[in-house]
């Protein structure tokens, strides 16, 4: 009987590096052989590697967790799915089934939501650039529009004249909530009086009905207190508007920015410690609302949470293509997935799981993607046991932003599958091939090659 083999490893002891456990200790090495009961190997055999895998169960569960946290504390809440976070049809459809409306920030996202069957009045249209024609469509179809700047007020008044209607609109505010950097480029500034000027402008035009306030204080906010500040300022401003201009503010849209349990680079603590629970956020938001609203007044609270809902439902399976030793002595692995499809690798350190038992001590290593580009680094320092070629790594959470910000750069984008609640596996986006990329290209006749 032969002994179990582990790859030979020798490590030099250096001060500051002499921690038997490292940051990914050998004894908690993370093994994942399946996702929602479906074997990783089976998924790769059928759909190839790399492969994005979404868990419908996790997605619905996460949404319900967020929904319950808020609806148990406040009677009038709407959730609007942030399309930019993940606008794959299947993902949006799951969340619309759960009762989310659609929050879009471009005419493309607007069209995609309409195509999926979302009625116009279930769409919230945000963003600093809303082409005129898209405003016409949005007003016609009854979408809620949150105005970003004075030009847009003028555009909408023109639309109102053109269609002979009085659109119900919201305005986006930016404010100091103690969060740095302050997102001051979107909407009208509250503290400087610009927001009040915008309301005056809308009132004096007389062509628009101001019914909502919108704000989005930042992204991956780790301090629930900031939302409390945001809510109090929004409510105060709403009452100023109501008392001085006679508009009734029907909705307060506090945006998103809630963090997922992802590990932001530069944040030392693990996410389970650093990231507050959704209940803490909900508690802050709702108690700030209930304590600052006038008796009997329950304007609609709108949440545009994206990352907090979908991030943890997404996994990426990637394969070790090669192992090499760098001149510094550091071990390096070349994976078949890189920053081309994992945009969030620039600011997250993913959770890395291995698809099989690998024996041997963990050693420091760097994970490179497949691109012929120096910036293609998936993890610049992690601790893994010596991985044989062909080992699959399962990276998570990757559900937010990657399948919208991925690039068709050098390589084809891989397939995306959704594992249903009963373990069924559906292909929700096919892997790309050459036809996807050349479909729009035109080669002038005179350049046709004759090889």
């Amino acid at each position: 009987m032969k002994e179990a083999y582990e790859k030979p490893v020798i490590l030099k002891l250096k001060t500051g590096m002499m921690n038997k456990f490292g940051s990914s200790p050998a004894y908690i090495r993370k093994i994942r052989k399946e996702i929602d009961g479906v074997p990783v190997e089976e998924l790769v055999e059928k759909f190839g590697s790399p492969l994005f895998v979404f868990s419908e169960k996790k997605l619905r569960q996460k949404f319900r967790e967020v929904k319950n946290a808020f609806t148990l504390r406040y009677p009038n809440v709407e959730f609007s799915w942030s399309y930019k976070t993940n606008y794959l049809d299947a993902i949006c459809a799951v969340l619309h089934q759960e009762g989310e409306t659609a929050e879009v920030v471009s005419e493309f996202e607007y069209e995609k939501a309409r195509r999926l069957g979302v009625p116009g009045n279930q769409i919230i249209y945000n963003g600093p650039y809303k082409p005129y024609d898209s405003l016409v469509t949005a007003v016609k179809e009854g979408a809620r529009i949150n105005i970003d700047h004075f030009e847009e007020i003028a555009d909408l008044e023109k639309v109102a004249d053109e269609l002979g209607v009085k659109p119900r609109v919201g305005i986006r505010l930016n404010m100091d909530t103690g969060i740095h950097p302050q997102w001051s480029r979107f909407g009208f500034n509250l503290e400087s009086g610009q927001a009040l000027d915008a309301v005056k402008r809308i009132a004096s035009g007389g062509k628009l009905e101001l019914v909502g306030l919108h704000c989005h204080i930042g992204t991956f906010i780790l301090d629930p207190h900031a939302y409390e500040v945001e809510v109090r300022k929004l409510v105060n401003f709403a009452y100023t508007v109501e008392d001085q201009f006679g508009f009734k503010i029907d909705y307060l849209d506090i945006g998103g920015g809630f963090p997922s349990k992802n590990r932001l680079k530069g944040i030392y603590l693990p996410p389970e410690v650093a990231v507050p629970s959704v209940d803490e956020f909900a508690e802050r938001v709702c108690s700030a609302l209930l304590s600052s609203l006038r008796p009997g007044d329950y304007p609609k609270l709108i949440l545009e949470s994206g990352r907090a809902i979908v991030d943890e439902a997404g996994y990426l399976i990637t394969t070790v293509h090669a192992a090499k030793r760098l001149p510094s002595g550091l071990k390096a692995y070349v994976l078949d997935a890189g920053v081309n499809i994992l945009f969030t690798a620039f600011w997250y350190k993913f959770n890395i799981e291995i698809d099989r038992e690998v024996y041997g001590t963990s050693e420091p290593c760097v994970l490179y993607g497949p691109l012929c580009m120096n910036i293609d680094v998936v993890d610049d320092l992690t601790y893994l046991p010596p991985l044989p070629r062909g080992t699959r790594l399962i990276l998570s959470p990757v559900g937010a932003y990657n399948v919208t910000q991925w690039m068709q750069f050098i390589r084809y984008r891989p397939a995306v599958v959704l594992i249903g609640e009963n373990g069924e596996v559906d292909l929700i986006r096919e892997a790309e091939d050459l036809t996807d990329i050349v479909r729009r290209e035109k080669l002038p006749e005179r350049l046709k090659l004759e090889w």
């Binding site: 002994e3 083999y5 582990e6 790859k7 030979p8 020798i10 490590l11 030099k12 002891l13 030793r325």
Partner: protein, 83 residues
Amino acid sequence: MGKLERLAINDEGFIFDPETGNSYTVNKTGLFIIKFLKEGKSEEEIVKALSEKFDVSEEDARRDLVDFMEQLRLYGLLEGENV
């Protein structure tokens, strides 16, 4: 006497180099290989010994041995004569 012969190695895989004062840790397989290198065994002999003792193919063992010797060389524990 070669570099490797001077190393103080214990059974738990702790290596102390009395000449440089450096310390290293090595796993079971690494310890096995170093023992053979100290005895002046050839790469082929070591590959064979590895695949006989452990559950590993000669091909994988050869690849890992090359990488391991590369590490030893980077640490200055292996000189030309051993290679």
